[in-house]
Amino acid sequence: MTEQRSLVHGVMGEFETPEQLLAAARGARDAGYKHVDAYTPFPIEGLAKAIGFRWTFVPLITLMGGVMGGLGGFGLQYWCSAITYPLNIGGRSLNSWPAFIPVTFELTVLGASIFSVVGMLALNRLPQPYHPVFSVERFVHASTDRFFLCIEARDPKFHLAETSRFLENLHAVHVIEVKDEE
């Protein structure tokens, strides 16, 4: 066997309360760390901003889905009723658009909802069966009662010993090295 490749994904600090985590995330940001992620059992207000994440494309994708669903829905009905299968019933207009509104509306909602969910999952890179943070034994608490801050190794300021000390100074109850076994 040649050498076991065991890269470091980052260093993770465990916190007991959301307030401590929020303070630590802001501290890491102020100290100049750029590649930081936080893991919490429920969404915490202001945390995404504290780790430097402001903008999400989800609303835009949803809007696109809605516009496509709506135009596609109306176009489908127009094409069916006025172009490919016109039925002359007492000379009534073929493009009877008020009658097409319910289906147009339903397909707008359908398009927007599906785009929103698929877009959210795609931007989150899910489904993703493996991620280095799962190798940390205490990480199961991230879905119960503990709050984690991970400073990633790809950060230019990252230094294993120094970053660990930095997290300890931010009152992390545990500081854990996260290995990446890819």
């Binding site: 919490t40 989800v58 069916c80 009723s81 929103s116």
Partner: protein
């Protein structure tokens, strides 16, 4: 000191009737809800209930198989009564589903904290009710294996659906509603599936919840996008749920049949849907909280609030009944006046009086606080309202169709054994799916409960300042 209390701290989290009993931590709410799925052994009560429901589903299977073999002639329908039990049951079931979306979407947008512990199973109820509802128009088509004709697809016959027909609107409304309810439910479940994956001890549980949770890791970036999607879905589902029963009411209101051709139908159908849906949520919540010891999470405050929603929507429904009569006589249209008289004095008048008792008179007891806080009274009330709402649809469908424009076409309608077997069968299917749901998935949104604990601890710490 109360004078220093922050005005923003929500009174819902404290006071004599909290939405979450005090003393809970992040871990305790997680443990309590996850344990129902992960570790609690299957009890004799669950097994007995499931078996009973399963045998009723077998009855449904027989009823549907016999229908496929013989055709819709086994039901009590015949011209001019083309719409018998099948449409009554369809409208009833789809209406029940509406409360789930109301709780999960509209109350979310209105920032009502008390929705948190009831939204998950109310959404499940929506899905199962829509599944039962969708079955009826499908088997009512007579040749259900050709139901795909209703969808626009390029067929070799070169024909396309009639998009000016409310029945085609219905196809789109109900299938969109089912799809959006399913993905809304799944998005809500995603963090909880990850919680179950992390807490699962058995290998098969780890694998199943691992696959379903898609590798959700509670990252702050993920949460941010997740919340964005959840809010957008709630915003989309709100007009959707109002549109669905509106479109269902168009099935009636667009027709020129007396008793159907009224503009009050859309709002009064939507109110009736929410009314019956909340009744069904209560019918489920009361045994559920008892059986799984969830009284701390589904508190008296929830039951009280739901009772108030029932009272309010019940009054809107009562107004709808009143306007139907008022418009019949005010318009002077002799067919409408005749139909109004048929409801009061015709051969089905006892259904109409039963409906008034169930839907209008009995629920007035909910004005009394003692009734709203009595669990047995609420349970009985919810069953009465569900019956009343079924009777409402029966009155609408059957009385109008049995009294056509020409007396020579007048007939009587009575349901056959197979009509009842199908109705009872869907009740069994609905309950069986709920039995499976409470043991297979978290019946209360765990991550939202943790958020509630967080907010509660804030409210408390502000009090102590």
């Amino acid at each position: 000191m109360s004078t220093t209390q922050a005005p923003t701290s929500s009174p819902e989290l404290r006071g004599p009737n909290p939405v979450l009993e005090p003393g809970h931590t992040y871990a305790s709410v997680t443990d309590k809800i996850a344990a129902v799925v992960l570790t609690r052994p299957i009890g004799i009560g669950w097994l007995a209930g499931f078996t009973l429901c399963f045998s009723v589903v077998m009855l449904l299977t027989v009823a549907v198989a016999w229908l496929f073999a013989k055709g819709v002639g086994i039901w009590g329908i015949n011209i001019p009564i083309g719409w018998g039990f099948a449409i009554v049951n369809f409208v009833w079931w789809i209406g029940i589903g509406h409360a789930g979306t109301l709780i999960s979407a509209i109350l979310f947008l209105l920032n009502q904290k008390w929705r948190t512990s009831i939204n998950r199973f109310a959404e499940a109820m929506t899905l199962f009710a829509v599944a039962c509802a969708g079955l009826f128009p499908l088997i009512h088509t007579g040749r259900p294996w050709m139901a795909y004709y209703m969808f626009p697809y390029p067929s070799t016959m070169g024909i396309w659906p009639q998009f000016r027909s409310p029945l085609i609107w219905d196809v789109f409304a109900v299938s969109t509603y089912g799809t959006v309810s399913l993905i809304f439910w799944f998005v809500g479940l995603l963090p909880d599936l990850a919680t179950l994956r992390d807490r699962a001890k058995q290998r098969y549980q780890q694998v199943i919840f691992g696959i379903l949770s898609m590798g959700w890791r509670n990252s702050a970036r993920h949460w941010h996008r997740y919340q964005s999607t959840y809010l957008l879905l709630a915003g989309l589902a709100t007009p959707l749920v109002l549109s669905v029963h509106t479109v269902v009411s168009f099935d009636f209101a667009v027709a020129i049949v007396p008793g159907w051709h009224t503009t009050i139908f859309p709002p009064y159908f939507v109110a009736g849907a929410i009314y019956s849906g909340f009744a069904m949520v209560l019918t489920i919540a009361i045994p559920l909280r008892k059986a799984y010891g969830l009284e701390d999470f589904i508190t008296m405050r929830h039951l009280d609030n739901m009772a108030k929603v029932m009272l309010a929507t019940g009054l809107i429904v009562a107004y709808g009944y009143f306007v139907e009569f008022f418009m019949a006589f005010y318009s002077g249209n002799k067919f409408d006046v005749f139909l109004a008289n048929q409801r009061l004095h015709g051969p089905y008048s006892h259904f109409y009086y039963a409906l008034l008792i169930c839907n209008i008179f009995t629920p007035q007891l909910l004005w009394i606080g003692k009734v709203r806080r009595s669990i047995p009274a609420l349970f009985v009330m919810s069953l009465i309202i569900n019956t009343g709402m079924w009777l409402e649809r029966f009155v609408i469908v059957v009385i109008s169709l049995t009294r056509d424009f020409m007396p020579s076409a007048w007939v009587r309608y009575s349901a056959t054994f197979w009509d009842y077997a199908t109705l009872v069968g869907t009740l069994g299917l609905f309950t069986m799916l709920l039995f499976l749901f409470v043991r297979g998935l978290p019946a209360i949104a765990i991550s939202e409960m943790r958020e509630l604990v967080h907010e509660e601890s804030h409210a408390v710490s502000k009090d102590h300042k």
